[in-house]
C-alpha cells in the first residue's frame, strides 16, 4: 500500500455509504460501527501512504513541489487528447498534510457521533451521509486533475447540504441548507469557468501540466489573472470568505459533529487547498494573489468582529472559523504555502475540538445560547479543560498549536507583505484571543444563568469524551511538528517546514524569539481584555454594549449583508425573473403556441366551405388543378 494505491482511501467510505444508505435498517445498530471501522481503516492506510511518501521524499530533499502522479485511469478521450477526462491521483506534501487531517478528524467525529446522535431519527442515514462526505473530501485532496477536483468539490457541497438539512423538519434547517448550497454554487460556477478557461489554452485538466504551462508563459497575463480569479471565486464560496461567507453561520443548524467535521476542519479548507495547489500559478499573476491576500485579510477582521458579539456558542465558533480561514488565505496571498497548510493542520484539530466540546455542552444542557450557560466547569470538567485547551490554541498562546502556526503566518506576512496588512492581522489575532476568552468565560465560568439547565448538566460519556481528549492532545502538541527535531523523530527529514515549500523562498521553520514574544504578548493582551470584560457576571461587557447600541447591532446583524443579499434577490433577481416570466407567458405561450393553433383554426373555419360534398364541384377542382399544372409546365419550358 503506497502512494499509487491512494485511490483506495476514498473507495472505503464510498462502500460504507452505499451499504449504509441502502441497508442500514437491516444492520444491527444501523451500521454505525461500519462507518467507524471504515474510517479507522482509512487512518491506518494513510499511515502506510505516509511511510511510502517519506521514503521517496528522502531522495528528493529540498526539491520544490515534489509530488508524483502515481495513478491515472482514462475515462473519456475525444480527439486523441483534445478533451481528456481521466481519474488521476497526485500525492505531494500538500496532500500528505490533508490526508491525516481529514481521516483523523473524521474518525474522532464519527466516534463522538455514536454518543451524540444516540437515539436520533435517521441515525443510519447520518452515518451514511458522513461517510459520503469523507469519501468526497478524500477524493478532492488526491485529485490530480481539475475536473475530478470539481466533481469531488460538488460532492462535498452536496454532503454539506444533506447534513446541514439533517433536521429538515425544522424550517430554519432546511433554509440554511438551501442557503449554503446556493451560496457555494455561485462560487462553484466561477470555479468551473476558471477550469474551462485554463483548459482552453492548455488543452488539459491535469493540474501539474497547467502549472507547468503557466510558468512557461503559455498564458497572457490578463487571461491568466482572470482565470485564477474565477478559480478563487470557487474558493471564496467553499471557504466562506467575504462576500460569500453568509452561509457558514447559518450552517450551524446541522448536528454539531457535522459542524466540527465539515465546517471547521475539512470542507471549508477545500478552498485553501485549491489555492495552495495552484499557488505556483498564482505566483505568475501577482494581481490575483493580491486579491487572495486582501480578501483573506478583510474576511479575517470582519468575522472576528462578528464573533465578538454572537451569543450562540456554535455561531461564535463559526465566525471564528471564517476568520481563521482568512488567516490561511492571507498566508497564501504572500506565497507562504507552508504557513497556510500548517495553520490548516493545527486549526483542524483545535477547531473541531472546540466544536465537539460545544456539542458536549449542548448535549448536556440543551442550551446553545450563552444566556442559558455559565459556571459549567465544575459540572463538566473534561469538556471544560479540553475546551479551554482548544481556546488557548485558538488564541495563540505558546506551546499550544495555534501559536506556532499563527506566528508563522504573521512572520511571513511581515516579511513579504505590506506593513498595514500585518497590523490588521495582528489586531485580528488580538480580537481572536478576546472572543475566545469571552466564550470560555461565558460558558464555563461565572454563575449559571439557567439554573434548570445547570442542574441537569453532566459530563459526557466516554465515547464523546475520549475524542475530546485526543483532539486536545493534538491541539497541544501538533504545533511542535514545525520543529525539525520532532519531525526527525517521526522519520521525516525535518519539521513541517521541510515538507511544503513556497516557490523559491523555501525556508526552514525559524523561531525568532522577539517575534514569538510579540505574538505571545498580543495573545495575552487579548486574554486579559477578555477577562476584564467578561469575567464574573460580565457587567463591563454590558456597559460596553450600552456605549454604542448601533455598533453592537451592526455586528449582531452581521453588517446587514444578509439583508443586502435578500434585497438583491428580491429586486434584481426576481425582477429579472418577472421579465422572463412575462416573455414566457405572452410571447412563447400565448403568441407562439396558442397563436399557432389559433391561426390554423382561423383558416380552417373559412376553408371548410370548400367541402361541399357535391361531385361536380370536385370535378371542377380537379380540372382546375390539372390546368394549373399544365400551365406551370409550359411556363418552365
Amino acid at each position: 500500500m503506497g502512494m499509487e494505491q491512494v485511490w483506495i482511501l476514498p473507495a472505503i467510505p464510498v462502500a460504507v455509504f452505499v451499504v449504509l444508505s441502502l441497508f442500514n435498517a437491516f444492520i444491527p445498530r444501523r451500521g454505525d460501527f461500519l462507518a467507524v471501522l471504515g474510517m479507522l481503516a482509512v487512518v491506518i492506510l494513510v499511515g502506510f501512504v505516509l511511510a511510502d511518501f517519506q521514503s521517496d521524499f528522502r531522495d528528493h530533499v529540498f526539491a520544490p513541489q515534489f509530488g508524483s502522479n502515481e495513478y491515472s485511469f482514462e475515462w473519456l478521450n475525444i480527439g486523441a487528447g483534445f478533451f481528456l477526462i481521466e481519474f488521476s491521483t497526485y500525492v505531494d506534501a500538500i496532500t500528505m498534510v490533508m490526508l491525516p487531517v481529514v481521516s483523523f478528524v473524521a474518525l474522532m467525529v464519527l466516534i463522538y457521533s455514536v454518543g451524540y446522535m444516540h437515539g436520533e431519527q435517521r441515525y443510519g442515514w447520518y452515518f451514511a451521509a458522513l461517510s459520503f462526505f469523507v469519501a468526497a473530501m478524500l477524493l478532492l485532496v488526491i485529485s490530480g486533475n481539475l475536473l475530478q477536483l470539481y466533481l469531488a468539490w460538488e460532492g462535498v457541497g452536496l454532503a454539506s447540504y444533506l447534513l446541514i438539512g439533517f433536521y429538515w423538519e425544522r424550517q430554519s434547517a432546511a433554509e440554511a441548507a438551501k442557503k449554503a448550497f446556493i451560496t457555494t454554487r455561485i462560487g462553484d460556477v466561477g470555479l468551473l469557468i476558471g477550469i474551462i478557461l485554463l483548459w482552453r489554452v492548455t488543452g488539459t485538466f491535469d493540474i501539474q501540466q497547467i502549472i507547468h504551462a503557466a510558468e512557461s508563459g503559455m498564458f497572457s497575463q490578463t487571461y491568466l489573472t482572470v482565470s485564477m480569479l474565477f478559480l478563487f471565486a470557487g474558493a471564496v464560496g467553499k471557504s466562506a470568505q467575504f462576500p460569500l461567507h453568509v452561509w457558514l453561520p447559518d450552517a450551524m443548524e446541522g448536528p454539531t459533529p457535522v459542524s466540527a467535521l465539515i465546517h471547521a476542519a475539512t470542507m471549508v479548507v477545500a478552498g485553501v487547498y485549491l489555492v495552495a495547489r495552484m499557488l505556483p500559478v498564482y505566483e505568475v499573476v501577482p494581481i490575483a494573489q493580491d486579491v487572495v491576500l486582501y480578501t483573506g485579510l478583510l474576511t479575517a477582521l470582519m468575522a472576528a468582529t462578528m464573533g465578538l458579539v454572537a451569543t450562540d456558542i456554535k455561531r461564535v465558533l463559526a465566525f471564528s472559523t471564517i476568520s481563521q480561514l482568512g488567516f490561511m488565505f492571507v498566508a497564501l496571498g504572500v506565497g507562504a504555502v507552508t504557513a497556510a497548510m500548517f495553520h490548516l493542520f493545527t486549526h483542524a484539530f483545535f477547531k473541531s475540538l472546540l466544536f465537539l466540546g460545544s456539542g458536549s455542552v449542548i448535549h448536556a444542557t440543551g442550551q446553545q445560547e450563552v444566556s442559558g450557560l455559565g459556571g459549567l466547569r465544575k459540572k463538566m470538567p473534561i469538556t471544560a479543560t479540553t475546551f479551554m485547551i482548544g481556546s488557548l490554541a485558538l488564541a495563540g498562546i505558546p506551546i499550544f498549536a495555534g501559536f506556532f502556526s499563527k506566528d508563522e503566518i504573521l512572520h511571513d506576512l511581515l516579511e513579504h507583505g505590506p506593513l498595514f496588512a500585518y497590523v490588521v492581522l495582528a489586531a485580528t489575532a488580538i480580537l481572536t484571543a478576546i472572543y475566545s476568552t469571552r466564550l470560555v468565560l461565558l460558558t464555563f465560568f461565572g454563575k449559571p444563568k439557567n439554573q434548570h439547565a445547570y442542574d441537569h448538566a453532566h459530563e459526557s460519556p466516554p465515547v464523546m469524551a475520549v475524542p475530546l481528549v485526543l483532539l486536545a492532545v493534538l491541539a497541544t502538541v501538533s504545533g511542535f511538528f514545525a520543529v525539525d527535531d520532532v519531525g526527525r523523530l517521526f522519520g521525516f527529514v525535518g519539521g513541517i517546514g521541510q515538507l511544503v515549500f513556497e516557490g523559491e523562498h523555501g525556508h526552514l521553520f525559524e523561531l525568532d524569539p522577539l517575534f514569538a514574544a510579540t505574538a505571545t504578548v498580543m495573545a495575552l493582551v487579548g486574554l486579559v481584555v477578555g477577562w476584564i470584560y467578561w469575567h464574573g457576571d460580565a457587567k463591563r461587557a454590558e456597559q460596553a454594549q450600552g456605549w454604542s447600541p448601533e455598533l453592537h447591532q451592526l455586528l449582531v446583524r452581521r453588517y446587514y449583508i444578509d439583508e443586502l443579499y435578500q434585497g438583491v434577490i428580491d429586486n434584481v433577481i426576481l425582477g429579472a425573473a418577472t421579465v422572463v416570466a412575462w416573455f414566457d407567458k405572452r410571447v412563447v405561450n400565448e403568441t407562439g403556441v396558442d397563436g399557432g393553433a389559433q391561426l390554423i383554426g382561423f383558416f380552417g373555419l373559412r376553408l371548410k366551405f370548400l367541402q361541399t360534398g357535391r361531385i361536380p364541384n370536385y370535378v371542377l377542382a380537379m380540372a382546375l388543378g390539372v390546368l394549373t399544372l399544365v400551365l406551370v409546365a409550359f411556363g418552365k419550358a
Binding site: 360534398g613 357535391r614 361531385i615
Partner: protein
C-alpha cells in the same frame, strides 16, 4: 396526307366536349359516357402521333390499345358504383351523393 394538326385539333375538341360533359351532367351514366369520350380523344391523339412521327415504331398505337382495355375495365367498375348509388338513393343523379360535406 392530312396535316397532323387536324388530328390534334379534333382530339382536343373531343376532349373538351368530354370534359364539359363530366363537369356539367347530372346523370351518372352520362358522366361515364363523357369520360369514355375523353379517353377516345386521347387515343386518337396517341395514334396520330404514332403514325406521323414515330415511323417504324408504333408505341402510340400500343398505348391506345391499353387505353381501350382500361376503359372497358373501368366502366365495368363504374357501373357497379352507379348501381350502388341507385339502390341507395333511387336516382342516378350524382347530386344525390352529397352528405360528405362540412
Amino acid at each position: 396526307m392530312i396535316p397532323l394538326e387536324n388530328f390534334l385539333i379534333l382530339s382536343g375538341i373531343l376532349f373538351a366536349i368530354g370534359l364539359f360533359g363530366v363537369m356539367a351532367r347530372r346523370s351518372a351514366i352520362l358522366i361515364l359516357m363523357s369520360v369514355e369520350l375523353m379517353l377516345a380523344a386521347v387515343s386518337i391523339n396517341f395514334v396520330a402521333f404514332a403514325t406521323y412521327l414515330d415511323g417504324d415504331a408504333f408505341n402510340g398505337m400500343v398505348f391506345a390499345l391499353f387505353v381501350i382495355t382500361v376503359a372497358a375495365a373501368e366502366v365495368g367498375l363504374a357501373l357497379g358504383i352507379v348501381l350502388r348509388l341507385f339502390r341507395e338513393r333511387r336516382t342516378a343523379y350524382v347530386d344525390a351523393a352529397d352528405t360528405l360535406k362540412w
